[in-house]
C-alpha cells in the first residue's frame, strides 16, 4: 500500500476488517515521511501488520530505482521508530520453517527447537538431541519474504521492464478495465518469475515482453487459493489470499489505485486443501 495518500488507501480495505486507529494512522503518516527521507527511498509502502500475542509488528517497505529488486523492509512496534529487517536467506527460511505458533511481539525473543537425530543403524542407533534457537527477528524476516514471494501481487501492466532490465512503474498504466479486472489472469506475482520460463514458446508468443514478464496468479496451486470479490457493486476489486489469510489486495478499476496489505498472524494456512 502506497504511503502516499495513506489514509485514502487504508479506507479501501476497511471492509475486510483492516482498520487502523486514528492515532496509528497519524503516527505512520509522520514517521513514513521521515523514513523515506532518511533512507533515501524513492517511494515507501506500508506493507502491513503482523499480530503478536503481546505486541504487533508494523512493517514498511521502501524502494529504490528498481521497484522489484531494490526493496528494503523495516519494522516497528510503535509506528514511530523503524528498524531494518535482516535480509532473509534460504538457510534462514529453512530454519524458521520449523517454528510454529504465533509471534510474541518481542523481536529479541528466542524460539527453541529440538531436533532429534538418529545416528547409526539398527540396534546401535542413538538419538541425539540438537537444540537450536531462532530469533523472532529472523522469523519475521523470513515470513515477510515468504509472503512477498507467494502472494505479493500487482495488476497487469502496472509495471514494465525497462530495456535496461530494471522494473519500473508504468506511467501510462490507466488501471484495469472492469471486464479484465475480474479475471485472475490480470494479476501478476511481484517477484522474479518462476513459471514463465517453463512455458512453451507457443504460450509465450502472444506475450508483451515489456509487460508480461511476471507470473500470472491464475496458475497458482491449489486453484481457488484466491478469493476475488467485487465490493460496492463493481467499484472496488478485493482479492484475498486464502494461503496467507490476512493478505488483501485492492484495485479500483479504471484508476491507478492498487496495492496490498497484510494483516494477520504471520502463519501460512497449511490447512487450505481441506478448507476449500
Amino acid at each position: 500500500m502506497d504511503a502516499e495518500g495513506f489514509h485514502l488507501n487504508i479506507s479501501l480495505v476497511g471492509n475486510s476488517g483492516i482498520v487502523l486507529s486514528p492515532e496509528r494512522r497519524a503516527a505512520l503518516e509522520t514517521s513514513l515521511v521521515i523514513l523515506q527521507n532518511q533512507q533515501k527511498f524513492n517511494r515507501v509502502f506500508f506493507w502491513g501488520k503482523i499480530l503478536g500475542i503481546k505486541d504487533d509488528y508494523f512493517i514498511a517497505q521502501g524502494v529504490g530505482d528498481d521497484e522489484m529488486m531494490d526493496r528494503k523492509t523495516l519494522y516497528s512496534t510503535d509506528c514511530v521508530t523503524w528498524s531494518l529487517v535482516p535480509q532473509a536467506t534460504t538457510a534462514m527460511k529453512e530454519q524458521c520453517s520449523v517454528v510454529k505458533g504465533r509471534f510474541t511481539g518481542d523481536p529479541s525473543y528466542e524460539y527453541e527447537h529440538t531436533e532429534i537425530k538418529r545416528i547409526g543403524e539398527g540396534e546401535d542407533a542413538q538419538e541425539e538431541e540438537n537444540t537450536i534457537t531462532i530469533k523472532e527477528e529472523d522469523r519475521l524476516a523470513s515470513v515477510i519474504s515468504q509472503v512477498d514471494e507467494d502472494v505479493a501481487i500487482v495488476p497487469r501492466g502496472a509495471y514494465i521492464k525497462a530495456p535496461s532490465g530494471t522494473v519500473i512503474r508504468n506511467r501510462s498504466f490507466q488501471g484495469l478495465e472492469i471486464h479484465d479486472a475480474v479475471k485472475l489472469s490480470s494479476y501478476f506475482h511481484f517477484r522474479e518469475p518462476v513459471r514463465l520460463n517453463q512455458k512453451s514458446l507457443l504460450d509465450k508468443a502472444d506475450l508483451d515482453k515489456a509487460i508480461d514478464f511476471l507470473d500470472a496468479i491464475d496458475e497458482d496451486v491449489p486453484k481457488r487459493s484466491w478469493s476475488l470479490q467485487l465490493e460496492r457493486g463493481s467499484g472496488l476489486i478485493i482479492l484475498r489470499s486464502l494461503l496467507w489469510e490476512g493478505l488483501t489486495f485492492y484495485h479500483v478499476p479504471g484508476t491507478t489505485k492498487y496495492g496490498y496489505m497484510y494483516n494477520g498472524s504471520g502463519e501460512m494456512n497449511k490447512d487450505l486443501p481441506f478448507m476449500l
Binding site: G14, V19, D56, G101, R232
Partner: protein, 567 residues
Amino acid sequence: MSTTDEPEQQPPVEEAKPETPKIASPVGTPVAVATPRGSVSSAQNVNLNLNPKEAEFTNAKAFLLTASTKTNINLYDHLSKVISNILDGRPANAVDIFEDISKDCKRDKFISKVDTIQDKVDRSTEVELAEVQKPLFEKNTDEGADIEVEEDNESPLPNLPELMYNFEQADVGVSREEMVRIYLALKNLVDNHPLQSCRFWGKIIGTEKNYIIAEVEYREGEEEEEDEEEEAEAEEQTEKEDDEAGEEGEEAEEDDTPKPDWKPPPVIPREENRTGANKKTYFVTIEPGKMWTKLPPVTPQQISVARQIKKFFTGRLDSPVISYPPFPGNEANYLRAQIARISAGTHISPLGFYQFDEEEEEEEDSEGRDSFVENPDFEGIPVRELVDPSLSNWVHHVQHILPQGRCSWYNPVQQQEDEFEDEEEDEEREEPDEPEPETGPPLLTPLSEDAEIDNLPPWSAKLSSNLVPQYAISVLHSNLWPGAHAFGTEKKFENVYIGWGHKYLQDNYSPPQLPPAMEEFPSGPEITEAEDPTVEEEAALRAAQQEAQENAEEMEDVDEDEDEEDV
C-alpha cells in the same frame, strides 16, 4: 480543409508535402490529395530530376506517409502532431514521457464523437447496488408521527457508531461508511420485526461474499408467530420426505437388500428457542440494504460436527458443506453452528455488569443458572484493571457449550437404555450405560479460568493508546478465535467478530480418520475356507450317512405306526 475535421470518415488521405523539408508542419494542411501509391509514383517521377540524396529523402518520406491499413493514420502526421504537442506543452524531461505523449495523441484522435450506444442506460452492478441501498437513506415520511411517539419507548437499536468508534481505537472494525450502512440496515431490521434486543454480532468473510450478522432477541411470545409459518412449510417438507421414504421402503422389500445392523447414536434433541445455544436468534445478510435472512436454530449434531471440520464459507447460504465427517445441513447451518461456538467462547463482559437474578437463584441451584440480569448498581471498573493480565475482571456471559453440543446436559439414556453414546468425549467412560453428566464452567466465569493451550494465552489485553493512557480504552483480542474482540471502558463494553470464522489451531488440521471397514458377514464355519476331505474321509462319511439313513428309515416306520395309532 473540412475533410480533416472528421478523420474517421476520411478515405485514406495523404498529403503531398512540398519537397523542401518542413519540420513540425501543422497537421492537416493538404496541398493536394493523393493516395499513398500515387505519392510514391509521383515521387519516382520527380526522381528523374533529383540528385540521389533528395531521392532518398522523398522515398523515406513517402514511406512515412504510408497509411496504416488498420487505423488509417500515417506516421508522418502522427510524429508531427506529437512534436507540435511537445513544443506546445514544453513538459519537463520530454524524452522520458515521449511514449505517453505519443499514446495520448493516438487516443485523442480516436475518441468517437458519435456513439451508437450512447443512449443506453448503464446498469452496471455498481448502479444496481446503489439502488438497493438507496432506501436505507430515505426518511420514512409516512410514519413520521409514529416515530416521535415511539421515541419514549426504549428502542432495541444499539448506538452502533459509538461502539464502532471505540473499536476503531483498537484497530478493529469496518470502514465508517460500511458501518453506517450496517447501522441503517439494523434499523430496518428493528422496524420490521418485534425485537426486544438487537446488536451487530460481526462479519464473517467468505470466499465469494461476506456475511453481516445481527444478533436479536424477539419479544416474549412473538417469535412463535413468525415461526408458525416456517414450521408449516417444514412440515410439508417432512411429509413429502415421508412419502418418499415410504416408496423406498416398498422397493426395498422387493429387492431384499441387506440392511446394516449399525444403529445411529441416539439423536440428542436441540435446545428450545431462548435457551442454551439457541438463546439468541441470528439474521444474516450479504450486503447492507439487501434482505435479512433468519438462520435456523442450531442442533447439537451440527455443533459437534462443526468442531471436527474446517471449511471456508462461500457466502451462499444454500451451498452444501462437503466435508468428512458429513455435516448435517448446508452452509446456513454451519454458519449458525460457528456463530454459537464463537459466541460461547468469546462473548465477555466486565465483572459485575451482569448478575444472577436473585429470585431464581434458589430454584435453579442444582442445574446451573442460565439467566442473568443487568446489575443496576454496577460501578464500573477502571480501565487499568480491565487490562490486567490476569483478566479476572472479565467474565463470560454466554453459556459454555458442552462436548455434547448442548449447553445443558441431556441424558441420552433416558429413552434408549440399551444404546450408548458415540461421542468422542465419552469414550473414556468405563460404563457406557450410565453416562456421567457433562459439566462445563458455569455462567459468568472469569476469563482467568480459561484454559491455556500450548503456552498460548487465550486472550491478549491491550490499551488502545500508549501515548495518552489516561483516556485510552481496554481492548481484548481473542487468540483462540482470531477476529473476536471486546472493548471495555468504565461502564460500556461490546464484543464483535470480524474474521474467517475458524478457531485457531497451532498444529495443522487433520480430518478424523475413517472408521475401519465393517465386516460384511460374521465370520463362521459357513464362510470359512477348509481343506478338502481325503478319499478315506469321504468314504467314512458316506458310510456314516448310510447308517444314519437306515436308522432314520426305521424311526420313520415307527413314527408312521404311531401316526396311524393316533388317527
